[in-house]
Amino acid sequence: MKLAWITPRFSPEGVVGGAETLIRHLASLAAEAGHEVHLLTTCARDHFTWVNDREPGEEVIAGLQVHYFRVNEDRDVGRFLEVQNLIDRGRAVSEEDQEAWVANSVCSRDLNAWLEQEGSTLDAVLAGPYLFGLTVEASRVCHGKFWLVPCLHDEAFARLDVIAKMFREAQGCLFNAEPERQLAAELYGLPVEGNPVVGMAIDPVTSDGEGFRTQRGLTKPYVLYCGRREEGKNTHLLFEYLNTYLERRADTVSVVLAGSGDLQPPETLRPHILDLGFVTEQEKHDAMAGASVFIHPSTNESFGIVLLEAWLAGTPAMVHDRGEVLRWQCESSGGGLWFRYYPEFEAMLDLLLETPELAGKMGEQGRQYVLDHYNRQAISDRLLSALENT
């Protein structure tokens, strides 16, 4: 089969967002299975400015034929943000405004032109995440061949008519987790059949938690947060909870952060934090292996790659009760607990820190779950089975 996969950004080094990593991963699996894979992306690297900072063109990277296209430079960012803010605040937005929001989002006329030119030779076009103009426009250009890899969240944008239409008219969706598929069923009436849960493979790695502790001078148990530090990830809630926990429990645990973001922790929490900033993949895995508990407070995840990676390192997790997908992962694996409010957060953290045997068992359950359900073969089987139906 000849397949085109579309993702807003692609980096040969692999340092992009979760959804982009997912698309690259699925495209690679399809290529490994012998399909002709074209990966279409933009020339942008920065997900705030979307400036075209590399030349358009083609190159073969790790077996993928990667095509870089320019983001439309005449897009009206002011108009986009104006509508985006209205949507974000839950206001009703007219069809005209929704179209303006799509047109002034991250789109590429050059990419659309390639799809129009090559469309007749393609067997399927698979694009995601759902929130980008790039994806919406591809669904229109490749009507009848379009598959969505949505990375769907329960948010105001998901309720727009323009988005609902794309979901309903797509040939099918490849979901990351069962709650994501359930959400799509609730919002758009999508049937289970023809819209499979595929997910992403998490490859086993060797990690050295003790080495990380020694190297970083960590003498106390520590909890770990990995990812962007922003309100959308609920990091501000985690900071407040950890600050209160350390005030009530007096210096019993350290906090290790990996990743970046503008959100600053409270002044009183800072002395307890070891901020790693950007880390290599190996260092991330080592930090995960050395942690007593991995905490993922986000309520807006469609998969939770870092949660699965933490389990693979044998570390138990705590997630927010309202993060449907992460809670489902915890329920399915037995590798994590889910809190609704601070008293539960405190009780669960106490329990995991004071009962290493329990924490170890939960970490092992999580690890086994990832090895059983997110191994390369299982994901490849689910993906290829879905592609057979395209």
Binding site: N234, E240, L337, R340, Y342, P343, A347
Partner: protein, 154 residues
């Protein structure tokens, strides 16, 4: 109520961990401790401010938050021990200077903080009252619906 934090006790089986049962057990234990006042702490009220959107649809959690709010509603304008980490004459002088500054600050801002405390207290009372009123209204409506349903089924 003791100010000392109390830990939740949960028994763990020797076999695999049933996390759903564990979460239920922790929740039951936390609810019991909450009734004992273990979590009535202004610091918890502060920590929950980013969690309100998730707590708002749970009567149980919202009631707990109102309790925390009541506990943390007053701005503390009482005197406190003024210290300085520097030893000797310099340290003693700094303590004296800080004491004078605090006395002046308290003198000139006492009226403002007093008014703020009054406003905070009234606000919390108003929120609690409307919460209780709605609780009563909902209870009476539920009772009425139950009676109507009973009447229609007979």
């Amino acid at each position: 109520m003791s100010d000392e934090p109390q830990h939740v006790t949960v028994r763990v089986g020797a076999e695999g961990v049933d996390v759903e049962a564990l979460v239920s057990e922790i929740r039951a234990e936390v609810a019991r401790k909450r009734e004992e006042g273990v979590y009535t702490d202004a610091r918890i009220g502060r920590a929950e401010r980013h969690n309100l959107m998730y707590m708002a649809d749970s009567e149980e959690l919202l009631r707990f938050y109102l309790k925390c709010l009541r506990d943390g509603v007053h701005v503390d304008i009482n005197d406190f021990v003024i210290e300085d980490r520097r030893p000797g004459f310099k340290g003693r002088m700094l303590v004296k200077m800080k004491t004078v500054i605090w006395t002046l600050l308290k003198f000139y801002t006492f009226r403002m903080w007093h008014q703020q405390n009054q406003v905070n207290g009234l606000m919390v009372t108003a929120i609690e009252s409307s919460f209780q009123q709605y609780e009563k209204k909902i209870a009476s409506l539920e009772e009425r619906i139950a009676k109507l349903e009973q009447g229609s089924s007979e």
